[in-house]
């Protein structure tokens, strides 16, 4: 378990799976994907979980559940497309309970997973992409010090419009460490 100020990252397990049908069908999956509007049955969600538990290929990532300090599951974070050879990984983030948006829960989880990627997995570089419509994530990237590395024009069809995909990267030498970031952002338990 990775302990933060507002949330902990725990192994992705039953408590999160049980919430997944509600999460996939709510607004959060639109923002966490590239603008997909998922309408999924319980059976489909269970099938995805089975594939996740028994993948065809060796898994190249680490899946965490995000829970608040009182143990409420509020989403999941992952290290994906992990390459031990190039020591590069993609980060995926989803705070699936809209009531917890905009209050630092996602940022706290992000600081934890970046620290884990650099200090435990020995990555040299982490990166992520989001659609240009997702201003909450764009703001967060700036706050946490990710560098804007590119813009794929009109990459995704979301709600009837084409939007760009925006790519951010962070090199290990640009990361001041979790403690320093907490101080800079004034993040505290509440």
């Amino acid at each position: 378990m990775l302990e933060g100020l507002l949330v902990d990252l725990v192994p992705y397990g039953q408590a999160h799976q049980a919430r997944d049908h509600a999460w996939w069908n709510n607004e959060s999956s639109f923002w966490a994907s590239m603008g997909e509007r998922e309408i999924v049955s319980r059976a489909a969600v269970e099938r995805r979980h089975r594939e996740w538990v028994e993948p065809d290929q060796p898994r190249t990532g680490v899946a965490f559940g995000v829970q608040t300090k009182d143990g409420t599951p509020i989403g999941y974070f992952g290290v994906n497309f992990l390459s031990y050879h190039h020591r590069v990984a993609n980060l995926g983030a989803n705070i699936s309970e809209p009531g917890y948006w905009g209050s630092g829960y996602g940022t706290d989880a992000l600081l934890l997973i970046v620290d884990y990627a650099f200090n435990w997995l020995d990555m040299r570089r982490v990166w992520l992409g989001t659609m240009s419509l997702n201003t909450r994530v764009l703001r967060q990237m700036e706050k946490v010090g990710f560098v804007l590395e590119g813009r794929h024009r009109r990459m995704t069809l979301a709600d009837g419009q084409w939007y760009d995909e925006v790519i951010f990267g962070l090199l290990r030498e640009e990361w001041p460490g979790r403690e320093a970031m907490i101080e800079r952002l004034g993040l505290r338990a509440r």
Partner: protein, 195 residues
């Protein structure tokens, strides 16, 4: 079959599969991937080919593979559309010319123009993209020549031959595609004597 000036794109079949063991172990694999130096057995190559066939049969598209064949009938390499998204109407181009003596002669460019035309006119794509490592100047020149724009540079992404090199991503929107004929003319592409 799609007929070009220097090459044709044909179904990726036996004639190409037989060359893969050699292609994957020679220098072309270094450039065709992002700096991987593959040392692979025949058995591993055969396993990959089986997996690739399964992937091509997926209902959501998966990938479409072509063999690149010179006008004289020599199998030169492969070119494919990967990560096909029917919803977002886009895919990624992957390409490798496995025979180094054919490099720099326009064969890859001719193949690119054919697969781009196929993606826009037959698959109704809205966008194409590709990526390569920062040290692959030949690929970057080819991408720019056929109209791709550099859209992203992921810094120090790949470890290749002891050095960290960027990942450079190129994109092309359909509205910026003038059509294959126009590009053949603009680039002055014409048939030539093969090596």
């Amino acid at each position: 079959m799609f007929e070009g000036l220097l090459v044709d794109l044909v179904p990726y079949g036996n004639a190409f599969q037989q060359q893969e063991h050699r292609w994957l172990n020679n220098e072309s694999a270094f450039w065709g991937t992002a700096g991987d130096r593959l040392i692979v057995s025949r058995a591993a190559v055969e396993r990959w080919q089986t997996e690739r066939q399964d992937d091509g049969a997926r209902p959501d598209g998966g990938s479409i593979w072509f063999g690149i064949r010179s006008k004289a009938g020599v199998p030169l390499g492969d070119i494919e559309l990967g990560y096909i998204s029917p919803h977002h109407r886009m895919s990624m181009i992957g390409v490798g010319i496995g025979e180094p003596e054919y490099w720099g002669g326009g064969y890859g460019t001719d193949a690119l123009l054919l697969i781009m035309e196929y993606a826009f006119n037959w698959l109704d794509h809205h966008r194409l993209w590709l990526h390569t490592m920062g040290t692959n100047v030949r690929m970057q020149r080819a991408a720019t020549k056929v109209g791709f724009h550099e859209e992203a540079r992921r810094r120090r992404f790949w470890l290749a031959d002891g050095q960290w090199t960027d990942d450079v991503i190129y994109g092309l929107l359909r509205q910026d595609w003038p059509g294959r004929e126009a590009l053949v003319e603009r680039l002055g592409l014409h048939p030539r004597q093969e090596p």
